[in-house]
C-alpha cells in the first residue's frame, strides 16, 4: 500500500498544486506521513481555511474515490456505518415463512445483500486502490460517536454483530476535520496525526486567488490579498468576531470581477462586504476601519 501514496513530501506538494490545492510544506509533511504511516489525520482550524478541500484534492491526487461522512448532532451507527434493509428482509421472511426453519430464515435475512452500506463501510470495502474517507466536522457529533469511531481509527475495521468483523483490505486515507466548537476526546486524538491549519500568508493567499479567479486583474488580486491579510491581523481582527477564510476571499474576488471592479475603494467594499461578513456587529465594526484597511502598502 506504500506504493499507493506519493513518494516524498516534495512530490506530494507538487501533486496537490497540480490539482489546484496550494499546500504549505508543514501541511504536506503531515499529509505525507498520514498516508505513508496509514494513520488518520485530524485537521483543526477556523472555518474556511481549506480543510475539506484538502480531502477532495487528495482524492484526485491519489486517484481514490472520496467518501464523505458529514457529522451532525445525534449521528448514529446506522447513518455512519451500516443499516439492514428491513423492508427487503421482511419480504423475504414473509415469502419463506412456511418453507424454511427459523435457523435458515435467520441465516438468510442477515446476508450481505440486505446490508445497506453507509460511508464508513463503503470506505472500508472500496476495492483497490482504496478510498479517501473524509469525516467532516467531527466536533458536531457527540461524545458517544467519537467512542464509536475508535475501532475504525485504530484498526481500520468495524464489527457488525450479525456478520462479524469487517477489516479494510486497503486502509482508507482518513481525514478528520474539526472546527473546534468543542475539544475532542484524547482517545481519538491519540489515534490520529494532528495538524492545525492557519490562515495562509499573503503570498499563498494571492496565489490561491489568482488560481481560482484568473479573470481578476493582477492589481485587484494584490489588493484583495492585502485587504484580507490586514483584516485577519491585529488591530482589525480584534474588533471582529470572525475573520474571513480563504473560501470567502475567493468568493469576494469573484464578486468583484463580476462587478467589473478594477480597484478597491470604500464604496465597492461596502456594497460587497456581505460576502466576507455575515454578522451585523462585524459590518458595523468594519465601517470606521475601512480607510486604514484600504491604505496602500508601503512597498506597493
Amino acid at each position: 500500500m506504500l506504493q499507493q501514496s506519493v513518494g516524498s513530501v516534495q512530490a506530494l506538494t507538487e501533486a496537490l498544486a497540480s490539482v489546484g490545492y496550494l499546500a504549505e510544506r508543514r501541511l504536506a509533511t503531515a499529509v505525507y506521513l498520514s498516508s505513508t504511516l496509514q494513520r488518520p489525520l485530524l485537521l483543526e482550524g477556523e472555518p474556511g481555511v481549506g480543510k475539506t478541500e484538502l480531502a477532495k484534492a487528495l482524492s484526485k491526487v491519489l486517484q481514490r474515490p472520496l467518501v464523505r461522512l458529514q457529522c451532525y448532532d445525534g449521528m448514529e451507527q446506522r447513518e455512519a456505518l451500516y443499516e439492514w434493509n428491513h423492508a427487503a428482509q421482511l419480504m423475504h421472511m414473509r415469502a419463506q415463512q412456511d418453507r424454511a426453519t427459523p435457523e435458515q430464515l435467520e441465516h438468510a435475512i442477515y446476508q450481505e445483500k440486505y446490508l445497506l452500506r453507509r460511508p464508513m463501510l463503503q470506505a472500508l470495502q472500496t476495492p483497490a486502490p482504496g478510498a479517501v474517507l473524509l469525516i467532516d466536522e467531527v466536533d458536531r457529533a457527540d461524545a458517544p460517536f467519537e467512542a464509536f469511531l475508535l475501532e475504525y481509527l485504530g484498526e481500520y475495521q468495524v464489527s457488525i454483530p450479525e456478520l462479524g468483523t469487517v477489516r479494510a483490505q486497503i486502509p482508507p486515507v482518513t481525514i478528520l476535520t474539526s472546527n473546534r466548537t468543542r475539544d475532542l476526546n484524547d482517545a481519538v486524538k491519540r489515534r490520529c496525526l494532528y495538524h492545525w491549519m492557519d490562515y495562509p500568508d499573503r503570498e499563498r493567499e494571492l496565489s490561491i486567488v489568482r488560481q481560482s479567479v484568473p479573470q481578476a486583474s493582477d492589481a485587484l488580486a494584490q489588493q484583495v490579498a492585502s485587504f484580507i491579510e490586514r483584516l485577519r491581523s491585529a488591530p482589525f481582527a480584534n474588533a471582529l468576531s470572525r475573520s474571513p477564510g480563504i473560501a470567502e476571499s475567493v468568493e469576494w474576488a469573484k464578486a468583484l470581477v463580476a462587478l467589473n471592479t478594477l480597484q478597491l475603494d470604500p464604496e465597492v467594499v461596502q456594497s460587497t462586504v456581505g460576502i466576507l461578513f455575515k454578522q451585523r456587529e462585524d459590518l458595523a465594526a468594519l465601517e470606521p476601519m475601512l480607510e486604514a484597511l484600504l491604505a496602500p502598502t508601503p512597498d506597493a
Binding site: T29, A30, Y32, W84, D183, D186, R190
Partner: protein, 391 residues
C-alpha cells in the same frame, strides 16, 4: 534513507529525550506516540530541519494551544538540550513550586481544625452554631433562610458546604438519538426483525424508538466585583457541584473576562475555588458587564453551542459601563442562546426594583430573574429553571 544504524540510534535517543521533555511540559505523550514520531522521523529524514520539525509536530502535538510551546522547546532542545531545562523551569513555575510543599487541602485542614477545637474545648461561648457536629433542626432552618451576606465566617463555610449538596435537576430536552421504548414515533425495525427471525417470521410485538433526552448545555457568567464577592464564591461552589456532568463553560467577569473552565475541571470544590482565586485578576474590583460580554463575543463565541445553551448570568446589575453598550451585547447574547437567566442576589430586598442603568437593561433582556441570596432560594432554583426554560 541515508542514515546508518548508529545515527538512527542517536536520533532515536534524541527524539525520546525530546518527547520526555514535552511530557514534562504537559503534553499527552505515551510510548505509542513516541514510536510513531520515531517512524515519521525516519521517513522524513534529517536533511531538512523544517520537514523534520513538521513531522514531529504532526505526531507529537494534538492541541492548538500546545503549538507555541512545541516550537520553543524544539528550537531549544535541538540546539542545546541543557537550555531546555532552564526553559522548562521558566514555563512551569507551578510544578516546581508546588512539588516541595504539598499543601493540605482546605477540607483536610478544616477537618483537622475541627478535631483540635473539640479536644481543647473552646471556652468562648459563640452565639453562632457549632459547625463540627450534626446540626440541630432549628439551626438548619435558620441557616436556610439566612442571607449569605449576613453570615459569620464559620457559618459561611458551613453554608458553602451545604450549598454544594443541593441537587439541581437541570432541564432536559429531547435529543436526536433514540432508544427502544414501548411507544414512540418510529418502529425499531432492526430489533423487530431480529426477534421475528427467531420466531419463524412471526411479528408478535412492535418495539418502538423514542427520542432520548439530554440536558441543555450551560454557560455560567459570574460577576466577581466587590459587591458580589460573597455570592460569587458561594455560587461558584454550588454550581461547580450541581452542574457536574453537564456540558458547561464558566467565565468570571469584573472589569475583564476570565476563563474559569480549567478551575472547574477539578473535582474538589475547594481546589476549584483556590484555582479560580489565582486565575481571577480583578476579584472584588469594578464591574463592566458590557465590556466583558464583548470579550466573550469576540473570543469565545463558540462556547454558545447551537443555540441550545442556557446562560446563567449571576450579577447584581451594578454596572459601571455604558448602558447602550451593555444593551447591544445582551441583545447578541440573547439571540444566540436558548434562555438568558439573571440570578440576582439583590432580590433579597423586598421592594427591590431593577431601575438603575445596568439593571434595567438586564431586566429588559433577561428571560427571567431568580433570587439566590439564601439556601432556600437555591433549593427552589431547579424548579424555577425548569419553568423558565420551557417557555
Amino acid at each position: 534513507m541515508q542514515l546508518g544504524d548508529a545515527r538512527v540510534g542517536k536520533m532515536a535517543d534524541n527524539i525520546v529525550g525530546f518527547a520526555r521533555t514535552l511530557r514534562r511540559a504537559g503534553f499527552p505523550m505515551d510510548s505509542e506516540r513516541i514510536s510513531v514520531a520515531l517512524e515519521s522521523a525516519l521517513l522524513i529524514g534529517l536533511e531538512d530541519k523544517q520537514d523534520f520539525r513538521a513531522a514531529l509536530e504532526a505526531t507529537m502535538v494534538c492541541r492548538q494551544q500546545d503549538r507555541e510551546v512545541f516550537d520553543q522547546l524544539f528550537d531549544a532542545y535541538f540546539r542545546n538540550p541543557e537550555l531546555t531545562q532552564q526553559l522548562l523551569a521558566q514555563m512551569l513555575p507551578k510544578t516546581t513550586e508546588a512539588a516541595p510543599s504539598p499543601k493540605r487541602r482546605a477540607r483536610t485542614q478544616e477537618a483537622l481544625a475541627a478535631i483540635t477545637a473539640n479536644n481543647s474545648r473552646a471556652k468562648v461561648e459563640e452565639d453562632s452554631i457549632d459547625f463540627d457536629a450534626a446540626m440541630t433542626a432549628s439551626a438548619q432552618v435558620r441557616l436556610r433562610h439566612a442571607d449569605f451576606e449576613s453570615l459569620s465566617a464559620s457559618e459561611f463555610k458551613l453554608v458553602q458546604r451545604l450549598a454544594c449538596e443541593i441537587p439541581l435537576s437541570w432541564p432536559r430536552v429531547p435529543a436526536r438519538r433514540t432508544q427502544r421504548s414501548r411507544s414512540g414515533a418510529r418502529v425499531d425495525w432492526a430489533h423487530t426483525l431480529r426477534e421475528s427471525a427467531r420466531l419463524n417470521g412471526e411479528l408478535l410485538s412492535l418495539p418502538y424508538l423514542a427520542r432520548r433526552t439530554q440536558a441543555l448545555p450551560v454557560l455560567i457568567l459570574i460577576d466577581v466585583s466587590g459587591s458580589m464577592e460573597r455570592y460569587a464564591r458561594l455560587m461558584l461552589a454550588f454550581l461547580h457541584q450541581s452542574t457536574r456532568g453537564l456540558a458547561r463553560s464558566v467565565y468570571a467577569f469584573g472589569n475583564q473576562l476570565t476563563d474559569l473552565n480549567s478551575a472547574f475541571r477539578h473535582a474538589d470544590s475547594d481546589e476549584m475555588l483556590a484555582t479560580a482565586n489565582q486565575l481571577i485578576q480583578d476579584f472584588a474590583g469594578g464591574t463592566q458587564i458590557g465590556h466583558s460580554l464583548a470579550q466573550l463575543r469576540l473570543t469565545q463565541h463558540r462556547q454558545l453551542i447551537g443555540r441550545r445553551t442556557v446562560v446563567l448570568l449571576i450579577t447584581d446589575g451594578l454596572d459601571t459601563g455604558e448602558p447602550s453598550a451593555l444593551a447591544q451585547e445582551l441583545a447578541w447574547l440573547k439571540r444566540n442562546c436558548r434562555s438568558l437567566l439573571w440570578l440576582n442576589p439583590l432580590l433579597r430586598f423586598e421592594h427591590y426594583a431593577p431601575s438603575a442603568g445596568g439593571a434595567s437593561v438586564l431586566k429588559k433582556y433577561a428571560d427571567g430573574m431568580l433570587a439566590i441570596h439564601d439556601l432556600a432560594h437555591l433549593e427552589d432554583l431547579a424548579q424555577s429553571l425548569a419553568e423558565l426554560v420551557k417557555q
